[in-house]
Structures are given as structure tokens and as C-alpha cells.
């Protein structure tokens, strides 16, 4: 026994992943109450209203876009892709944090992921939805977008399998499907929990249908764990592949500034970087307003800051390599591309990018800063902007001055470029607001596994079993069950 006590005295210097004083029941109550409570918080209504307006702006823009054509945007002759593809890559990148947290960190058994994974997965899903809008609507004739899918047809017309856009279609659609499945799978036990706690009939019906007959049976749990692990395994390569293929959209091209072998790792790192920044951007206010600081603790925030620091440095290595390779290649086009990036008419964008993505985030090296939520929030906003700028630098600034000087031309966005972009933010936030109100945003059953009472030391159990005589056990000791 003494040994056991000694171990209990060991104090982890890091903040806990669950705040002190929580029990299995308190976790359940807290998470369920956010959904099952009556009425809506004023702040929530206000936030949703604003986001909804943004979404309406998006829908209006889309309607006008389909009616008139992509000409309502500022894209032009050398700059065929601009806000459309910038926003696509930006949103796809943001989505990556969710998959990384839920899949890779799960496989690596990083228990701290638990309180943020649901939230991050939802973010992934919504970000992918926003991202998907852009390639679908940026085409000249969106009504024939389905030609990008390999659909057998009487004319024997197939897509061009050599085109990275083709690969993109598979990459993004797979990613969206797996992310949705993964998210929904993870939700089922919690939805069942909601169903059981629901007081209103409609709540019972909806949660009942969504929980797909989950009863907390051991076989359910067994299958659930297996399936979840499998999906995690499936998702893991996606974290790398999706953004790798997105980067192929550029690196397969011959445009100076696009045609670079460093793109896949650089894009993946950038995606994770952007994703964590967005998770933090959302998590910091949410944990405050919903009083879930004891679930999303400083431990989470610190860890995420460290991931950002690491991936941010990879991204900056990418920037450095682009510049180095521009020079080292000896190619006049590449050299000019770098020169144009730094000192060309859009040069300020490049230096802003360096400021946002390289200089500002270095502040996170200081432990104190990693504990200062205001600082972290501001840094995250810088990164969000910086990652958008990065895509602007890559896409617009490479296209606007490529090979023939006669065709160089500046690109200027129109109001519809902005309404489309901010509209997708509206859509994203609308979905986010609905999510935190109607779906358990923290995986309560997984949270419970973090509690001390959920920890089962098998050796100790065997020892205790050996030392305890069977008759000393109470006749009907309740076996703790998940779901209580």
C-alpha cells in the first residue's frame, strides 16, 4: 500500500488536462447542460445573428456569381486564380488541425487531445465545407463540375488523371467524407447520453435517431473502439496527403513560385500551423464563455502553442528554402520571382507575411507568453492572417508576373471577392455557433477516461486481488460503468 500512496503523491508540474474536483457525473452534467439547457444565451444569439448575416451575404454572392459568372471577381488574364483558390487553400489548411488532433494524437496516445478533439473535428468539417465551395464555384461553369468525377458515360469521356486538380477532387472529397464519419462516430456515445438525459420529446427523438441505438453495451464499446481506431488510421495519412495534393495544384505547374519540390511538407506544416491557430482562436473565447476552462485547460493551450511554434518554424524554413532555391537554381525566372516577391509591387504582402508567420509567433518561446491568453489570441490572429497572405503570395504574386513581361498585370479584388471570403467566415461561424449549442462540443465519455477513477493500473489490481480475500468484498459492490 505504501508504494501506492507514494505514487499518488507524485505531482505533475504541468496543469491538469481536466480541472480538479470533477467526477464522472459532473463531467456528464456539465457537457450535457450546455445542450439541454433551456433558452439561449444573449451572446450566443448575437453571435449567431452576425454570423448568419455573413452566411446570407455568402448565399447572395453565390447567387449572383452563378447568374453572372466568375467575372464578378477580380481575376484576370495572368491571374486566373486569386481569392478563390487562396480561400480554398486557407480553409483546407485550417481543417487540418482537427484531423491531426483526432487522428495522429489519438494514435500517439496523447491524452490531452481529448477535450479539444470534438471541437477541432467540427472545425475541420466546417472548414472543409467552406473550402469546398471555392473550387466548386470558381469554375466558369459550376453546373458541369461533376465532369471532374470519373463517372462512366456513353461518350467514354474520362477526367484527365494527370491533372492535379483531378487528384484534388479525390483528396478533398475523401477528406470530407472521412472527417464527417470520424466526427459522427465519435459523437454517437455522447448523443446517446444526450438522448438519455433529454427531457423534451423532440430532443429525445432527434438524439435518439442520431445515436443509432447506442446502449453502452460492452460489444458496442468494443466495436466502437475498433472502428474509431480504424478511422483514425485512415485519417492519419489524410493529414499528410490532402495538403500534399493541394500543394501539387501548384507544384505540378511550371509557374515560377509554384514549381517547387518543397511544397508538400511545407504546405502540410502550414496547414497544421494554421489549424492550431484557428483552434486556439475559437477555443480561447469558447472556454471562457461556456466556463469550460476546467476541460480545456492551460495544458491544452500550452501544448497547442508548442505545436504552432514547431510547425511555424517548418513553414518559415519553407520560406527560407524558397528564397534559397530561387537563387541556387540559377534560373532567371526563379530569381526574378523571389526578387519580385520581396521588392515587387506586392512586396509589402511578402513582408507582412514574414511578420505574421515568422516574427510575431516567436514570442511563444517565452513560457510566460504561452500562459497569457490575450497574447496567444493575438498571435493566433496574426497567424490566421499570415497564412492567408502566404497563399496570396504564392498564388497571385507568382501568376501576376511570370514568363512574358508583356502579360504582367496587377490583380485587384472586387467587392465580391471580399463578400465571398467573409461570407464563408459567416458560414463557418454559423455552423460553429450551432454546433456548440446543439451538439456536445466536448467528448464527455472520453473526458471521463481522464479522471483518476477511470485509471486502472492492472498490476495494482492483480496485487490487490491477490491480497484481498474474496469474503472481504462487499456482497454487491457496484462496478463503475462508463455512462454513469
Amino acid at each position: 500500500m505504501a508504494e501506492v500512496i507514494k505514487k499518488q503523491e507524485y505531482v505533475d508540474p504541468r496543469p491538469p488536462v481536466v480541472g480538479p474536483g470533477h467526477t464522472l457525473k459532473s463531467i456528464n452534467d456539465k457537457i450535457a447542460d450546455l445542450i439541454l439547457m433551456k433558452g439561449f444565451k444573449k451572446g450566443w444569439i448575437f453571435g449567431l445573428a452576425i454570423s448568419f448575416l455573413g452566411m446570407m451575404m455568402l448565399l447572395n454572392t453565390i447567387a449572383y456569381l452563378v447568374l453572372k459568372g466568375v467575372g464578378i471577381w477580380g481575376n484576370n488574364a495572368p491571374v486566373g486564380w486569386a481569392f478563390d483558390i487562396i480561400n480554398f487553400v486557407w480553409w483546407i489548411g485550417i481543417g487540418h488541425a482537427g484531423t491531426l488532433i483526432s487522428a495522429i494524437l489519438l494514435l500517439l496516445r496523447q491524452s490531452w487531445r481529448t477535450s479539444i478533439n470534438r471541437f477541432a473535428e467540427a472545425m475541420t468539417l466546417f472548414a472543409v465545407a467552406c473550402a469546398g465551395l471555392f473550387p466548386a464555384l470558381h469554375t466558369g461553369r459550376p453546373w458541369v463540375d461533376f465532369w471532374l468525377f470519373p463517372i462512366p458515360n456513353t461518350m467514354g469521356m474520362w477526367p484527365n488523371f494527370r491533372s492535379p486538380l483531378m487528384w484534388d477532387v479525390f483528396a478533398v472529397s475523401t477528406y470530407a467524407t472521412v472527417s464527417a464519419l470520424f466526427w459522427f462516430m465519435g459523437l454517437i456515445p455522447d448523443l446517446a447520453s444526450m438522448r438519455d438525459r433529454a427531457k423534451h420529446k423532440w430532443q429525445k427523438v432527434i438524439f435518439g435517431m442520431l445515436s443509432m441505438g447506442w446502449r453502452g453495451d460492452a460489444r458496442h464499446w468494443h466495436r466502437y473502439e475498433t472502428a474509431y481506431l480504424l478511422l483514425a488510421g485512415l485519417s492519419t495519412p489524410l493529414v499528410l496527403s490532402v495538403h500534399t495534393i493541394v500543394s501539387f495544384d501548384f507544384s505540378i505547374g511550371i509557374v515560377p513560385g509554384w514549381h517547387a519540390t518543397i511544397f508538400p511538407p511545407y504546405f502540410v506544416a502550414g496547414a497544421v500551423y494554421a489549424g492550431f491557430a484557428m483552434v486556439l482562436t475559437l477555443a480561447i473565447p469558447v472556454r471562457k464563455f461556456y466556463n469550460v476552462e476546467d476541460f480545456i485547460t492551460m495544458r491544452h493551450i500550452r501544448n497547442m502553442c508548442k505545436v504552432m511554434l514547431a510547425t511555424g518554424l517548418i513553414v518559415c524554413y519553407g520560406y527560407a528554402m524558397e528564397a534559397f532555391m530561387g537563387w541556387y537554381s540559377g534560373s532567371t525566372y526563379e530569381m526574378f520571382m523571389m526578387k519580385n516577391r520581396m521588392f515587387g509591387p506586392y512586396g509589402y504582402m511578402y513582408w507582412l507575411l514574414i511578420l505574421c508567420n515568422f516574427i510575431v509567433p516567436q514570442i511563444l518561446w517565452w513560457k510566460k507568453m504561452r500562459d497569457n491568453l490575450a497574447v496567444i489570441f493575438i498571435v493566433c490572429m496574426f497567424i490566421n492572417v499570415g497564412m492567408w497572405l502566404e497563399r496570396f503570395v504564392i498564388i497571385v504574386m507568382s501568376l501576376n508576373r511570370d514568363f512574358l513581361a508583356s502579360s504582367w498585370r496587377m490583380y485587384y479584388p472586387t467587392i465580391f471577392d471580399f463578400s465571398m471570403f467573409f461570407g464563408t467566415i459567416g458560414l463557418f461561424m454559423t455552423l460553429m455557433f450551432l454546433f456548440i449549442r446543439f451538439v456536445p462540443m466536448i467528448a464527455s465519455f472520453e473526458m471521463k477516461t481522464l479522471l483518476p477513477e477511470a485509471k486502472v493500473d492492472e498490476h495494482k489490481v492483480a496485487e490487490i486481488e491477490k491480497s484481498i480475500k474474496p469474503e472481504s468484498l462487499p456482497p454487491s459492490a457496484p462496478v463503475p460503468q462508463f455512462g454513469d
Partner: protein
């Protein structure tokens, strides 16, 4: 105003008398008829010209009998039921029951005709699809055209179908019947006839039509006191007066550039401007062609005020203020040894004059000195004198009788007219074409033509549009387009072409001949008969055959004017006026796009980027960097340079604010402004574009203004729509704060390869120095076999490999190919706003690069279209296989399959792909549906398009050859750009055919592919541009001495 209320001048007595005489069974229709006067017969005659009532149908005049009354009544009732109130257009919806001879439906037919500009004809072959003209080609048999066209001819087919064209006769703006006009006009003429035409004035533009000449002669015989005035802003007054000064008579000058080794242009844009430019460009380039083993080039010296395409082709170009060209001309003349002329110029100009004179003297009889049309008489006279001194006259400079039917000083002519109008001497003013209210200069005291014109009792104007002049006239007669009406005109050498219509007038247009015919009381006579009658008289016996021949060939054989020996007047130099050189000068030039404004409503011409400046849809004031700096108008840092500052130009008390355009190579203290903009009644396209330079142009300074000029900064900015941002190929001289690529950034790309003749002779490959081209073996994939293909039964058959060679040495940047491509391929226009945004749709563009210092850079033109790369970067990236390669090497675009991801355009290093960001074509206007080529798909919104090498022409040629079981012959298939090119700069053909021109050109040492280092293997290649500088003027600096392209691998 007696002609208006004609019912009052009846005399009642004859009517009463007539009533008394008639039986009560007789009916009468009006008092006029009853009185049976001649006046009534005339009225009927005029009002119903087609019936020609009095001669053909006695019914109209004879008392109505019982039978004819029934006939008339029956017909009237029937027609009353048929036509409700408006005349329905004739629509033929049935197929031909009898096929017209030679017509195969779906196959175009070609007819020879001619278009005039400035009165002078260019021979054309017009493509007609089922009776509607769609495309203009040059007439190879015509002495000027030789198969080539200019932008105006190409775009004239759009003008034909312009929905804004005037459609009917108007009286004070209200639609009227042609007959009604004839009636009223006839009365006024009758008044004049009584006075011998003392109050009748006729104003025409410059004309060369022998038929008009015959008609005017007849008219002036009928109205001996009437006067005929001529005015057109494209003033060749200097040339006329110069000839008068030098030779004592008006002459027409035909330049034989194909016989000249040295050419000095005194501000003359002879390659693209003025009558005969097409022929001049062709002949000039014939002496510069470094192909087929030729190693010799002519040498061109240009002293010019405004950077023109001619200046761009110069071996030595001297920026000279327009007013100072006179001084330079004198200096050259003095150095050449022309008696009676002295001249002093200093600095670079002196060196230039000395070297030029030396070179000219060394090439006596084989040189040309040519003066610009807008230059004053003295410059023309000096040019003639130099030519005479050099023995060029008769050799390279051929003089003939004038081709104009009324060669007069046009400024003097219109000034005289205005004077007479002011004096109230003019009662009837008939304006046949032209738009003087818009484009006449300001007269004494700042009076406008309109002021004076308003004093005329009856004003009649015929023109294609209901324009500024029409709206101020009592009567406007819609003019028939040249593709709708019969006429004739002379080419620069005097050769007559019959202008043959391709289509019935779309509206109620009348030709000038018909209007003149009406004035000659020949109302029933069609334009066809009038023109035929002229030529029946001229061609004499065998007329029918000769007429048919003339129509078929497009020229009347043997009508070229014979050369004339005219000696220089002994005292010619005495008449020279001293040059007036002020502090600042304003040069009024014809716009390269809209000419004098007549094409303002032609969107094809508006959207063609003006040569060198690359600006569309506007005019502007061109100044040098130094002058802009001095006036505080240097462009802002904005890289696009689209936001132009305004300059205030004052001339003789009038001022105008115009956006300023800083052009490297423009002389200091000189402003050039293009005429033809600022129109208020051009039509929906042309209204309100640009600035009206005519508003500051006076009779004293119609071309070059110096004395009353002052310049200053204007207020505000103005956005110009340029299709190309402005960078130098080496930017050493550009002093802009904005980031501009450094010299090597662009020079290392070897986009434009240029050289000097002497180096080229030593080492023909020197132009490629430093460039790289990967070898064909550098690939892990097998190269596609473009030579032969296996058929299903195992035979090896030869393939075609389509390719193009573009001689940059020959390209003069005239834009004809761009408009030809637009016309052939149904390319949409996008408008100024979208040009600013960078959405131009032209499949072919002429990239312009500058090189050298800013004060006087060299300019190079590079026509750029889809290069049809064998390793096409666009094809790999299209997700839906909408752009694919064919076995003949064409990079094809499948519009129906295109989804519009634009990846292909992004990945195209030549940036020649054009995306339909919106629905740019006008799909609704009915008349515009006719202008389209039925063989080319009209692209809808959301698809990518680009040059196809005119695949429809390739297919037509292949089908024709397969029908005859043979290979396509070289030259049988010509792309639209190729066929329009006056200098044969673009050659298309089968590169598998070792005898083809394109194959041979690709073997030339100057041949290179743009961006070959990317290994795209383009099928289009370029031949490096060459300069032939005079060593005395510091030409031939040693660059690129060694070897050609590196073949690595």
C-alpha cells in the same frame, strides 16, 4: 422657305380651266394632278422614283378608267388587309429552289470589291456566307492591297452590321420616305436651277471616284454657279501644296520602296498610315527580308515627332519636334546639295543630318525621302527637291496626275465655304459624307462650322450614322455602306476598282451616286446603272466582258495612271516659308484606331491596342518624360500607370484637358494628341469616349500648332485602359520609383532576340547568344512521332505538322492581324472597364518591348498567339481533358468540355489563353448575328479559348485536298493573321513538308522559339529582328558576338 409650303404657289386659274374641260366621269386626285402641270409630273417622278411613273405606267397619270379603277381598288383593298401599318422585312425562310450559280451552301464565296479611306481604294476580297459578308481579305490582284488589309478594312464588316447605323431618311429627326425627301429637295434644287445654282454648295470628302467626277461635272454644268468644296481632317494639304510649290502643279506621288536602299522619313508614318501604306509596307519589307539567302537590308532613317510603327522599324530614329522637322529637312537638303536651301541644326540632329545626307548621296536613284502628310508644304517641297537632286524621281518616286477628282487645299476650301455661309450666300448645302460639325477646325474668331452652317436655309447630309452633322441638318439621308452599294475608286497608283456590293442595303441607305443622281433628275436610276454608265463610256466596245473582268479581278485593267515627268520649278525654294518653332507644340494626328473619328462606333477598332502605347478606348496627349516632369505630370508610382494625370492644352484661346501619356522616345516640348475621340453622336459604343481634340484645332494650325500653344497641368486623374503594362526589355533608362525589373531579369529570358546586320553577317547565330534550348532526347518518354502514323490496315501515312514562323524583322505592329483574327474567330470585345481589369479576349496580341535609353528607345514587336507547344503545359493540368493535342501538333481546345478551372491559362507560359469570365458576346442584337463566321463556335461564358491556328481553315483546306486526293499545297491554307499581314511576317504551313515556306523559315539562322528553355517545344517560332545601323551614327555596338543557343543535354 418657299420649298416647304408648296401648296400656296398654285395658280388657281389653270385648275378651274381643267375642271371645266373634264367630263364628270373623270376622277382627279389632287388639284395638282387636275391642273396637269409639269410640276406635278416632277413631283410624282420624285415621290415614286422606283415606279418612274410617267414613263412606265400611264395609269398613274392618265384619267382613271373603269377597268384600271377596279384594278386599283382591288389591289388597294387587298394590300390594306395585308399590311397593317409597318413594312415587314422580307424574310426568306425557304431553301433555294434554284441554287445561284457557283454557290454551294455552307461554303463561302468571295467577291472582289474595294474600300476607300481618305478617298483612296484598297482592293478587297470579301467572304460571303449565303449572301452575307462576314470577313474581309485583301485582293492579291490589287496594286495596293496585294492580298493584305489594314485594320479599317478588317473592321468595316462590323460597321456594316452596326445596329447604330442610320436606317432611314430623316427630316429634322423624324423618319421620312425617300420620295418625300426627293420631293422637297427637288423643289429647292429647282429654285437653285433658276439661279444657276448660285446658292448651292456641295461638300464632299476626298474622293477619287470617276463616277462621282462624271456626276459632279454634269451637276456643275446644270448649276454653273454652284460650288464644290472638299474637306476631310485627314489632311494631305501639305502634300498638295508641297507638290504645287516644288513642281508648280498638283501631282500624285507613288513611292517604290522595293527599289530604295536608303529611306529617310521626315515624320512620315508611311508603313501604316495614309493611302498606299499597305503597298509601301510590303515593298519596304521586301528590301529587308533576310531570308532565302539574302544578306542585305535597306536602311531606314526616321526623324519623327510621334513614335509610330515606322519609327519603331527605323535603324536610326531621331525624335524631332514636328515643327523642327522642317529645319532638319533643310539641313539634309543642304548637305545633299540641293540649291537654294540652307539649314542649320545642332547636336544630335546635325550629326544625323550629315550622316543621312552622306548615305542618301551614296544611294542616288535608290533612295527615298518621304515627308509626313501632316507636315507643311515646305517640308514636302524640300523632300521633293532632295529626291530630285538624288535622281530618285522617276526611279523610286513616281509622279502621276492627281488621283483625287478635286485636288484642292481642303482647309482653304472649307474656310471659303464658311465665309460664304457667314455671308448668307449659301442657300442649299449638300454634304455628301463627312462630319464637318464634328471634325472641322475652328475658323476665324473661334467660329465653329456649326455656327456658320446654321445660316444655311436647307442643309442636307448623307452619312452612315445620324451623327453630329446630321442632327443639325434639315434632312439626313442614310448612306449605304460600301458593302451595300455600287461605286468606284482609285488606288494610290490610279488603278480603278469597282466597289461591288455584297448585300442589299440592310436599311434604306442610298449611295452618294444615287443622291447625286437625284440631283441630276435621274431618280429612277440605280447606283448600279450609274456606275455602269460611267464605265460603259470609258471601256467602249466589249464593255460587258471588260466589266465582268473588272468585277471579277477587282481592278479595271489598265487604269493605273502613267508616270509623268515633271521638273522641279527653278524658283521653288523662293516659296518656302520659314518654320515656326514655338516653345511648345501640339501635333494633331489621326488616331491609329478610329482614324478621324469615323470608326468611333466600331468596337473592334476601339479595343485594338494602339501600336506602341497599347491603350484602348481612349485618346490622350503623348509627351516625353522630361516635358511631363517639367509640367509636374510625371506618372505616379503606380505600376499600372493607368491612372493618368491630366494635361491642360491651350491653343489660340481654347483649352482642353486630356490624360497625359509619357512615351519614351517622344521629343521634348511637344504634345501629340489623336483626333477622333470625344464624340457625342457616334453611337452607343463611341459616344463619350476620350477627348475632342478638334475643339482646340484651328484653321491656322490644323496639323501642327505652335504659336498659340501653352501647356499646363490639369486637375484630377483619368484611367486609361492599357493591354500591356509598361516595362523595358532593359529598363536602364526608366526612372520610376516603382519596382521595375532590372536589365538581366528580362534580357536573360531571350524573349526578343535582336541583332545588327553586320554581326549577323559575321555570325548569323549571334542573336541567340546566351540562350538555352533543351535537346529533344532529354526525356524519359518516347517523343511522339509527328511525321507518320500507322493506319488500321498497317500502312504508314505521312502526317501534317502545322507550324508557324513569325518574322519579327518584318512585323510592323500594324494590328491588322489582331482585327483579322477577331473577325475570323468571332472574338468578343469586353469594353474599357474590363480591359482595365485585364480581361481582353484577343487571341493574338502584339507584344511591344522597348530597349535602350528612355529618350530614344528601340521598339520591337512580337506577335504572340498560342504557340501550339508539343509539350504543352496547359494540357497536363486540365482536369477534364478539355485541351488536348492532335496528331498534327495542334493544341486544341474543346469548348464544350471546358469546365473553366483556368488552370491551363495559369500554366501557360505565353499567357495566350483567354477566359470568358462572363458572357462577353452580344447574343441578342439581331444585326450582329450576321457578322459572325458560321464556321467558328461562339463561345459562351465560363470557357477558355485561344488561338486555334484557324483550325476551320485547316480543315477546309484538308477536305479540299482530300477531295482531289493530294496533299495540301504550301500556302493553300492561310491563317487569318497571315492573310491580313501586309509584310508577310506570319507564315503558316506544314513543317513536315521540306519545301514549305514555314519549314524553310524555321531553318533560318535567326529562327528561335520563345521560352525554348522551358522545353515546351512550341510550333510557332520567331525570326530575330535586325537593325541595319549606320556605323557613322554609332551603330553596331558589339554584343552577342559568339555562337548560338546552347543545346544542353
Amino acid at each position: 422657305m418657299s420649298h416647304r409650303d408648296h401648296h400656296h404657289d398654285h395658280e388657281i386659274e389653270p385648275v378651274r380651266e381643267a375642271i371645266r374641260r373634264k367630263t364628270d366621269r373623270e376622277f382627279w386626285r389632287s388639284l395638282d394632278e387636275l391642273s396637269g402641270t409639269d410640276k406635278f409630273r416632277d413631283f410624282l417622278h420624285r415621290e415614286f422614283p422606283a415606279l418612274n411613273a410617267s414613263e412606265t405606267d400611264p395609269l398613274m397619270l392618265d384619267p382613271v378608267g373603269r377597268r384600271s379603277f377596279m384594278k386599283l381598288m382591288g389591289a388597294s383593298l387587298a394590300f390594306a388587309g395585308l399590311t397593317a401599318c409597318t413594312v415587314q422585312p422580307t424574310e426568306h425562310v425557304v431553301p433555294y429552289v434554284k441554287l445561284p450559280e457557283g454557290l454551294v451552301q455552307g461554303k463561302p464565296q468571295f467577291y472582289a470589291t474595294a474600300m476607300t479611306l481618305g478617298g483612296v481604294a484598297n482592293g478587297l476580297l470579301v467572304e460571303s456566307h449565303e449572301g452575307r459578308p462576314t470577313k474581309i481579305e485583301g485582293n492579291p490582284d490589287h496594286p495596293t492591297s496585294r492580298g493584305a488589309t489594314d485594320i479599317y478594312a478588317q473592321a468595316s464588316v462590323l460597321q456594316l452590321y452596326d445596329p447604330d447605323r442610320s436606317k432611314t431618311t430623316l427630316k429634322l429627326g423624324d423618319p421620312r420616305q425617300w420620295g418625300e425627301f426627293l420631293n422637297e429637295f427637288g423643289k429647292a434644287l429647282d429654285e437653285q436651277r433658276k439661279k444657276g445654282g448660285a446658292g448651292l454648295r456641295i461638300l464632299t470628302e476626298t474622293l477619287t471616284s470617276p463616277t462621282v467626277k462624271a456626276q459632279m461635272d454634269a451637276l456643275l454644268k446644270e448649276f454653273p454657279q454652284a460650288k464644290w468644296h472638299v474637306y476631310e481632317p485627314a489632311g494631305r494639304d501639305g502634300a498638295r501644296a508641297g507638290a504645287q510649290l516644288a513642281f508648280g502643279e498638283m501631282v500624285n506621288v507613288v513611292y517604290k520602296f522595293d527599289a530604295a536602299d536608303v529611306v529617310l522619313s521626315l515624320d512620315a508614318d508611311f508603313l501604316t498610315n495614309g493611302p498606299g501604306a499597305l503597298r509601301q509596307a510590303r515593298d519596304f519589307m521586301a528590301k529587308r527580308r533576310l531570308t532565302d539567302g539574302s544578306n542585305e537590308m535597306n536602311r531606314l532613317y526616321v526623324a519623327e515627332s510621334t513614335m509610330t510603327t515606322t519609327g519603331a522599324k527605323a535603324d536610326h530614329r531621331l525624335p524631332t519636334r514636328a515643327a523642327e522637322v522642317d529645319l532638319l529637312a533643310r539641313a539634309v537638303a543642304a548637305a545633299v546639295g540641293v540649291a537654294g536651301v540652307t539649314g542649320t541644326v545642332s547636336g544630335a540632329a546635325a550629326k544625323f543630318a550629315e550622316a543621312v545626307a552622306k548615305d542618301l548621296k551614296a544611294h542616288g536613284g535608290k533612295s527615298i525621302v518621304i515627308a509626313g502628310e501632316h507636315q507643311p508644304a515646305s517640308v514636302h517641297a524640300i523632300a521633293h527637291a532632295i529626291n530630285a537632286a538624288l535622281g530618285n524621281i522617276g526611279a523610286t518616286v513616281v509622279l502621276t496626275d492627281p488621283i483625287e477628282i478635286k485636288p484642292v487645299d481642303q482647309i482653304a476650301s472649307i474656310t471659303e465655304l464658311v465665309g460664304e455661309m457667314n455671308a448668307g450666300k449659301v442657300e442649299v448645302l449638300v454634304m455628301l459624307g463627312g462630319n464637318p460639325v464634328y471634325n472641322a477646325p475652328l475658323f476665324a474668331g473661334g467660329q465653329t462650322f456649326l455656327d456658320a452652317m446654321k445660316k444655311v436655309g436647307l442643309r442636307v447630309h448623307t452619312s452612315l450614322y445620324n451623327d453630329e452633322t446630321s442632327v443639325n441638318c434639315h434632312w439626313h439621308v442614310a448612306e449605304a455602306h460600301y458593302l451595300e452599294a455600287w461605286s468606284d475608286a482609285r488606288a494610290i497608283d490610279g488603278t480603278v476598282s469597282i466597289v461591288q456590293p455584297l448585300i442589299q442595303p440592310l436599311y434604306e441607305g442610298k449611295s452618294i451616286h444615287e443622291l447625286l443622281g437625284a440631283m441630276l433628275n435621274q431618280t429612277g436610276k440605280s447606283g448600279y446603272d450609274i456606275v455602269r454608265d460611267t464605265w460603259r463610256a470609258q471601256l467602249g466596245a466589249g464593255f460587258e466582258a471588260a466589266w465582268q473582268r473588272a468585277l471579277h479581278d477587282g481592278v479595271v485593267a489598265g487604269t493605273a495612271l502613267p508616270a509623268k515627268t515633271v521638273a522641279l520649278k527653278a524658283d521653288w525654294a523662293a516659296g518656302l516659308k520659314p518654320a515656326a518653332v514655338g516653345k511648345h507644340e501640339v501635333v494633331f494626328r489621326l488616331d491609329p484606331n478610329v482614324h478621324d473619328g469615323r470608326f468611333a462606333n466600331n468596337s473592334w477598332l476601339q479595343e485594338v491596342p494602339k501600336p506602341i502605347h497599347k491603350i484602348t478606348w481612349d485618346n490622350y496627349a503623348i509627351v516625353s518624360a522630361k516635358t511631363a516632369e517639367e509640367l509636374g505630370l510625371a506618372p505616379a508610382d503606380e505600376i499600372q500607370a493607368a491612372k493618368a494625370k491630366l494635361i491642360e492644352i491651350k491653343n489660340e484661346g481654347r483649352s482642353l484637358q486630356v490624360p497625359v501619356w509619357v512615351q519614351p522616345g517622344h521629343p521634348d516640348n511637344s504634345v501629340t494628341i489623336y483626333l477622333g475621340y470625344g464624340r457625342t453622336r457616334a453611337g452607343n459604343v463611341g459616344n463619350g469616349l476620350g477627348f475632342d481634340a478638334y475643339s482646340i484645332r484651328t484653321v491656322n494650325s490644323a496639323n501642327i500648332a505652335t504659336a498659340g500653344v501653352s501647356l499646363g497641368a490639369g486637375t484630377g486623374t483619368y484611367e486609361l485602359a492599357a493591354t500591356q503594362e509598361h516595362f523595358n526589355i532593359d529598363a536602364s533608362g526608366i526612372d520610376s520609383k516603382a519596382f521595375i525589373p532590372e536589365e538581366n531579369d528580362l534580357a536573360d529570358r531571350h524573349i526578343v532576340r535582336v541583332g545588327h546586320l553586320e554581326e549577323y553577317k559575321k555570325d548569323p547565330k549571334s542573336v541567340h547568344h546566351g540562350a538555352h534550348k533543351p535537346g529533344k532526347e532529354l526525356t524519359i518518354f518516347p517523343n511522339f512521332n509527328y511525321d507518320t502514323a500507322k493506319t488500321s490496315d498497317g500502312r504508314e501515312v505521312p502526317l501534317y505538322a502545322w507550324g508557324m514562323a513569325i518574322d519579327m524583322n518584318a512585323c510592323i505592329g500594324c494590328n491588322a492581324c489582331i482585327v483579322a483574327c477577331q473577325s475570323e474567330n468571332n472574338i468578343a470585345i469586353v469594353g474599357k472597364e474590363l480591359v482595365i481589369r485585364g480581361r481582353m479576349m484577343h487571341w493574338l496580341r502584339i507584344d511591344t518591348y522597348f530597349r535602350g535609353d528612355m529618350a530614344n528607345p528601340e521598339v520591337y514587336f512580337q506577335p504572340m498567339m498560342c504557340q501550339h507547344c508539343e509539350n504543352a503545359p496547359c494540357e497536363v493540368v486540365c482536369p477534364v481533358n478539355a485541351t488536348v493535342h492532335d496528331a498534327e501538333g495542334l493544341n486544341t481546345q474543346v469548348y464544350n468540355r471546358c469546365v473553366g478551372t483556368r488552370y491551363c491559362a495559369n500554366n501557360c507560359p505565353y499567357k495566350v489563353r483567354r477566359f470568358n469570365y462572363m458572357l462577353y458576346g452580344d447574343w441578342d442584337t439581331p444585326s450582329l448575328k450576321n457578322v459572325r463566321n458560321p464556321e467558328v463556335t461562339i463561345r459562351s461564358r465560363g470557357v477558355m479559348e485561344k488561338c486555334t491556328f484557324c483550325v476551320q481553315r485547316i480543315m477546309a483546306g484538308k477536305i479540299e485536298s482530300e477531295k482531289q486526293n493530294r496533299r495540301v499545297k504550301d500556302g493553300e491554307i492561310q491563317t487569318a493573321c497571315q492573310s491580313s499581314c501586309p509584310t508577310d511576317a506570319i507564315i503558316f504551313g506544314d513543317i513536315n513538308d521540306k519545301e514549305s515556306r514555314v519549314h524553310k523559315l524555321k531553318q533560318e539562322p535567326r529562327n528561335y522559339e520563345v521560352l525554348a528553355d522551358l522545353n515546351t517545344r512550341p510550333r510557332a517560332s520567331y525570326l530575330a529582328a535586325m537593325k541595319n545601323p549606320n556605323a557613322e551614327l554609332g551603330g553596331g555596338h558589339g554584343e552577342g558576338q559568339k555562337s548560338g543557343e546552347k543545346q544542353h543535354g
